[in-house]
């Protein structure tokens, strides 16, 4: 379970948010909302451990994430604004590489099934460079279906997706949460996923 206590985030001279408390347990998800520039991405990067809060602490199962680093990272899947896709490599190669980064087993059959699920049949051997923006997003999302992480931290996961892919992703998140997973995500849409709480920044 992930919890944050008294988080304060300062960017430059601006204080984005102060004394923020949040907690997300098994089978729950958090919807982080706020205006543009309110600090949603900053909050998510703090939760992922990519930057340090000015004040406050983030804990994973009661331990500060700095100390429980490797246990935390094994359970964390973070999606930033950038796709972390290599344009010159194919979708399969990209998935293989991110699986190696995550320390997960990579089975081609599973990866292929995930790509098919996201409608990329016949495109798994194309360099990612030639795919459309939405298709690139889908390649990224295929990672969600492969990696077994307990906590998903997703920054604007619905950007550039068509209606079908949005449904697919919502289902994937509901399934994950229903199976005792956790998710923290930002989005400007309202989402029909049960078990959610809103964090307003």
């Amino acid at each position: 379970m992930l919890s944050a206590h008294g988080l304060t985030c300062v960017r430059g001279d601006r204080r984005l948010f102060a004394k923020l408390d949040l907690a997300v347990g098994a089978g729950e998800w958090l919807h982080v909302r706020g205006e543009n520039g309110a600090g949603k991405t900053s909050l998510l990067r703090l939760l992922a451990g990519l930057s340090q809060p000015a004040e406050g602490e983030i804990r994973w199962c009661g331990e500060p994430i700095g100390q429980a680093e490797s246990a935390y990272r094994q359970n964390l899947l973070f999606f930033g604004h950038h796709g972390a896709l290599k344009e010159d490599l194919t979708a399969m190669e990209n998935l293989g590489f991110s699986a190696a980064m995550d320390g997960a087993d990579f089975q081609e059959a599973t990866a292929l099934a995930a790509l098919y699920k996201f409608g990329l049949k016949g495109r798994e051997e194309l360099p990612v460079r030639v795919l459309s923006a939405g298709q690139k997003r889908r390649v990224m999302l295929a990672r969600l279906a492969i990696r077994k992480a307990k906590l998903w931290v997703l920054d604007e996961p619905f950007t550039a997706l068509d209606v079908k892919a949005v449904d697919l992703l919502s289902n994937l998140i509901s399934e994950h949460v229903a199976n005792g997973g956790m998710a923290v995500l930002t989005s400007h849409q309202t989402m029909p996923i049960p078990g959610g709480r809103v964090v307003q920044l």
């Binding site: 964390l76 796709g83 991110s98 980064m101 995550d102 320390g103």
Partner: protein
């Protein structure tokens, strides 16, 4: 360990898909070190004298060419973030990237150097010492370069800053590397210089990845 090999394999794969980067550095090395004999003219004694220095400076500048891109692409497309939160410690992944950089930009120089050395009328013994010195020296260039590349990550006009940062740190490698060949030619034996080069390399292998990792973490904040 697996992740480190994966980083290496991916970087090499990407180079294979886009060969121009490697070839640019290699051609640069070949052309720069060929211009000197052409410009100076056929004076074997003088050429032998300047050969170690010219070849080493050529190798050093050729390594600089690709240095800025070592982490820049990963930073721009978010791969670096993913590497930073990987369960595998970032320092291992940095080692993987540096190793890939050396295989791509250092090793070809080592293999090319004896061919270029012939233009300077170096005898086979001196060519051997030159290769050995470059074999010890080019990984050092990649390691020190990684610190510079990580420090200037995300800085506008980082290229110039990178050269200013890194070139002074390359001086020991240049002195001992070129010195090894010179002292072999003058009959003093290259052992001392090569040992010192190896000692610096050992130090860099231990410390440079940590320094580069710390710099990358700052760049990601």
């Amino acid at each position: 360990m697996n992740a480190m090999l994966a980083v290496m394999r991916r970087d090499l794969l990407m180079v294979m898909r886009r060969k121009s980067e490697v070839l640019t550095a290699l051609f640069f090395f070949v052309i720069v070190s060929s211009l000197f004999p052409l410009g100076i003219g056929p004076e074997p004694a003088l050429l032998r004298k300047i050969a170690p220095g010219v070849l080493w400076v050529g190798a050093l500048l050729a390594t600089m060419l690709g240095l800025q891109r070592m982490f820049a692409a990963d930073h721009a497309d978010g791969t670096l973030e993913q590497m930073a939160i990987s369960p595998t410690p970032l320092v291992w992944l940095v080692v993987g990237k540096v190793a890939a950089h050396w295989l791509v930009s250092g090793l070809p120089l080592v293999l090319m150097a004896p061919v270029l050395g012939i233009q300077f009328d170096l005898d086979p013994g001196a060519l051997g010492v030159l290769m050995l010195a470059l074999l010890l020296g080019t990984p050092l260039l990649s390691l020190i370069g990684a610190i510079g590349a990580a420090l200037t990550l995300g800085v506008r006009g980082g290229g110039v800053l990178l050269s200013l940062l890194v070139l002074p740190l390359y001086v020991p490698a240049l002195i001992f590397g070129a010195g090894a060949v010179e002292s072999h030619i003058s009959g003093l034996g290259a052992g001392g210089h090569l040992s010192l080069l190896a000692a610096i390399l050992t130090l860099a292998v231990f410390f440079a990845p940590w320094a580069a990792t710390a710099a990358l973490r700052i760049a990601l904040e």
